[in-house]
């Protein structure tokens, strides 16, 4: 009784965070278990795969022991769990580097791409849909309708190639689609892993210009492909709230239009948050075609490589990292969602 009283007295945002955070532990455990089982279910003996056809019985047995594959399923799981907790995801068969190192190198590339794409996507989708609803039959309204129709049907690699053809090959105004930074420019020392941030931290303007320039086309590509869905949904939600009784009452009370837009947008937040969270998780792996076209060297490319070369430790590592990342995204989404809507009981 006293415990629940103390709980009630906490500020609502704190209750939301404290209520949601502990859920992460069983979720993480589940994710690790699933990735572990995933590797067990794959066909073939990992030791045999790793050593190739010329392996002797003895070397296979040795490797099995080394990989912890000779115990029972639960012993193996405990072993794997322990490794994961120590940050050891195994050695990639293809790159011969520890998988954790590989992933740490590539993840920031993808995350930087996803970060800027989502920023631009939200900015464009929300602005266009708000203007389209507030001024029906205006330019934004028609634009959003035409674009909304087309958006679901444009493949990302096609947009990427088109943009490269137009702005790099023909007009020559865009940066080359070969990686995250000009090979002649030294990448900034890693702090966040985002080249744009790190170069600013290091005060290296030429590195910033180069990395920002390289980002433009892939970010625009991902935005064009993904903004359609967010725009459609935001427009529907926002339009409904824009017509609602309370917005009409605020208008009748003489509130300026800008305040009305702000208040209506505040009410449209929950579905926007959900979709943005979903898109971020989705882009993590789905950006692979764009990464390939722009030789980005991100997570998606690494995963495809791992599949192509039956690089199971790398694949397992990727799945684990992606799953954990998505968990974190959904954690943030859930918390923001509850913060945005005071009607949810906490």
């Amino acid at each position: 009784m006293t415990l629940s009283d103390t709980w009630r007295k906490l500020p609502r945002p704190l209750r939301i965070v404290l209520g949601r955070l502990p859920m992460v532990i069983p979720q993480m455990f589940g994710v690790i278990f699933v990735t572990f089982m995933l590797a067990r279910l794959l066909p073939g003996d990992p030791a045999l795969l790793m050593l190739g056809n010329m392996a002797t019985e003895e070397s296979i047995a040795n490797l099995r022991a080394q990989l912890g594959l000779d115990g029972t399923l639960w012993q193996q799981f405990a072993h794997y769990m322990l490794q994961v907790l120590h940050g050891d995801l195994g050695i990639s068969l293809f790159t011969s580097n520890p998988v954790a190192t590989d992933l740490m190198e590539r993840a920031p590339a993808t995350l930087e791409l996803v970060f800027y794409s989502m920023l631009l996507t939200v900015l464009i989708a929300v602005t266009v849909s708000v203007v389209a609803v507030v001024r029906p039959r205006g330019v934004a309204d028609y634009f959003s309708r035409v674009y909304g129709l087309a958006a679901g049907a444009i493949p990302d690699f096609w947009v990427g190639l088109l943009l490269i053809f137009l702005f790099f090959s023909t007009l020559g105004i865009a940066a080359a689609p070969f990686g995250r930074i000009d090979p002649l420019v030294t990448p900034p020392p890693a702090v966040t892993g985002f080249y744009t941030f790190d170069s600013l931290i290091a005060g290296d303007l030429s590195a910033f210009r180069s990395s920002a320039g390289r980002l433009v086309l892939p970010v625009i590509t991902l935005t064009i492909v993904n903004a359609g869905a967010l725009m459609k949904m935001t427009k529907t939600t926002f339009a409904e709230i824009w017509r609602s009784d309370f917005i009409r009452h605020q208008r009748a009370s003489g509130l300026p239009s800008r305040w009305l837009v702000r208040n209506a947008l505040r009410n449209s937040l929950p579905p926007i948050i959900t979709l943005v969270g979903f898109l971020v998780g989705f882009l993590l792996g789905a950006a692979v075609l764009v990464e390939t076209i722009f030789s980005w060297g991100g997570l998606g490319q690494y995963a495809v490589q791992a599949v192509t070369y039956s690089d199971y430790p790398a694949l397992q590592g990727f799945v684990l990292v992606a799953a954990v990342f998505i968990l974190v995204v959904y954690l943030v989404v859930d918390i923001l969602y509850e913060l945005a809507d005071p009607r949810i009981e906490t």
Partner: protein, 535 residues
């Protein structure tokens, strides 16, 4: 502006939607310190008129003629920024269903402060302080704390006060109250309107009260305009209208709003020792909320209804009256007590044994449209309960009974093929009744049959129930908070509060000499027009 300049003048105003004219040639004016009532039934164009006064016609309506002057200035010629300043600043609107008028994700204090800041140059903190000050004046207890609440945490009456504060805070000269208290309990309605009118008088504002309740007009308005089909058909000082309406329509409305002559003579002679048809003994029903709280919705309730009589169960929302009705029809399982029907306890019966009894015990639901399957025709809806009656197996017999029921409830036979959405609210109520009466039950529970209906429709429904009772010798439990219909229908009254019956007795006795404080409060909140029309 002299003291005699009207605050608001509407001159030959016409409004059209496409080719359809919804307001014809409306002329009216509001003087300072005056409360004007605009009365009309659904579809009379009252709300469109209110929105037109703010230049906020919804959904593509346009002014096709005439003009509106606010404080002598023509609305049509004002530039947009001044029109915005006028909304809420000079003319403030209070709408129906306060909860839907408040932004669900922001605190109510901030919302009221916003309105002030939209009209005055003020800092957020100062505006908030003024909002809290006003909250206290509109009867919000603990205003500082309430200001931090979100709308979903407030009751309907509290939300209505917040909306009133929103209207008052920028000190406008005209308040438009468009059915502002619709759906509130009578006690809350009186508190809210008393407060609103008192504030208006105090500040010298003019008020326009738009309503379909003549009781409200009688109590609060100096003058009344009667609207019908987009026209003003009668305009008179309230007292004159109530004593002698000049038009047939006005007279008809007034007649419909009056309570019917005292209930019929008691069906059973006093001396007869006939057992009551329905007897409820110590009925108990508890609900457990999500957080483990036990709500005693019905807490030890007992009453009896003799054959052919009506017991009215009155009380505010949340008093448990609907729950009692649902326990009686066994739509809810009870947690204790007994319900004797013809001296047999029905609560203990297994569902199978109770099923044949359903023919005799029927319920008319509160919201007819929600209770009717939207994909079924009226014929099928009314005929459905006949499945309970083994004698009604043949399609011909059923058809005949449905026709008979439609006739009984005064529904035209052509409606048999109609779907619920094609019916008016009054017709839907009738279909709900026809459906309940189809099996010729001995006992019917009416749940709020007259709520949210227009004056004339309500009178028709009341007359219908009276006639049905006479013709079918029905016993009814009449659940309502509409005291006017209680006077017209009930033989006896039970007053419920917090799940208990606080007072019970014959209708005349309760209305003439209530003994419990709560009953007195309920009755005091009624706005009968008789009090004002009596010479």
């Amino acid at each position: 502006m002299t003291a005699d300049t009207p605050l608001l003048e509407v001159e030959n105003l016409s409004v059209a939607y496409g080719d359809r004219t919804v307001l014809h040639d409306i002329t009216l004016s509001l003087r300072p310190d005056e409360v004007l009532g605009i009365v009309g039934e659904t579809g009379a164009g009252k709300s469109v008129l209110a929105r037109a006064m703010l230049d906020l016609l919804p959904g593509g309506g346009r002014v096709t003629g005439g003009r509106i002057r606010v404080g002598g200035r023509d609305l049509a010629t004002l530039p947009e920024p001044e029109r915005r300043a006028l909304r809420g600043g000079t003319v403030a609107l209070i709408g129906t269903d306060a909860k839907s008028l408040l932004d669900p994700v922001r605190t109510v204090g901030a919302q009221v402060a916003d309105v002030l800041r939209a009209h005055r140059r003020l800092g957020a903190a100062e505006a908030k302080a003024q909002a809290i000050e006003l909250f206290a004046k509109v009867g919000i207890v603990d205003p500082e704390k309430r200001a931090e609440a979100s709308p979903h945490q407030l009751s309907g009456g509290m939300a209505q006060r917040v909306v009133i504060a929103m209207a008052l805070i920028a000190e406008p000269s005209v308040i438009l109250a468009d059915d502002a208290t619709l759906g509130l309990d009578a006690t809350i309605q009186v508190q809210v309107l008393d407060l609103l009118v008192a504030r208006c008088r105090e500040l010298g504002m003019g008020a326009v009260i738009i309503t379909h309740d003549l009781g409200i007009v009688a109590r609060y308005c100096d003058r009344v305009e009667i609207m019908r089909d987009g026209r003003i058909v009668e305009e008179a000082p309230t007292a004159r209208f109530l004593s002698a309406p000049a038009t047939p329509y006005g007279a008809e409305l007034l007649g419909a709003a009056r309570a019917r002559p005292a209930p019929m003579a008691r069906a059973a002679a006093k001396g007869a020792t006939e057992r009551p048809l329905v007897e409820v003994v110590n009925l108990v029903k508890h609900f457990t909320t999500g957080s483990g709280h036990v709500v005693r919705a019905v807490d030890d309730v007992s009453f009896a209804i003799p054959a052919g009589e009506t017991l009215a169960l009155v009380g505010e929302s949340g008093s448990g009256k609907t729950t009692v009705g649902q326990c009686l029809a066994r739509l809810l399982d009870s947690d204790g007590g007994a319900v004797l029907f013809r001296d047999r306890d029905m609560l203990g019966l297994p569902e199978k044994a109770f099923r044949p009894l359903r023919r005799d015990i029927q319920m008319v639901f509160q919201e007819p449209y929600v209770a009717l399957n939207p994909r079924w025709t009226v014929e099928r809806l009314v005929g459905e309960p006949l499945g309970l009656d083994p004698e009604m197996a043949g399609a011909e017999a059923r058809r005949a009974r449905v026709r008979e029921m439609l006739e009984l409830t005064r529904l035209p036979a052509r409606l048999a093929e109609a779907y619920p959405h094609e019916l008016t609210a009054g017709e839907q109520k009738r279909v709900g009744m026809a459906r309940a009466l189809a099996t010729r039950p001995a006992f019917v529970v009416f749940d709020e049959p007259t709520t949210a209906l227009d004056i004339r429709v309500r009178a028709q429904i009341i007359d219908l129930v009276r006639e049905l009772q006479r013709e079918m010798r029905l016993s009814t439990l009449f659940i309502t908070h509409d005291l006017n219909s209680v006077r017209s229908l009930a033989h006896s009254v039970a007053v419920m509060r917090h799940g208990r019956i606080v007072e019970m007795g014959e209708t005349e006795r309760i209305f003439a000499a209530p003994s419990h404080d709560y009953t007195r409060m309920l009755l005091g909140a009624e706005l009968p027009i008789e009090r004002y029309t009596a010479a």
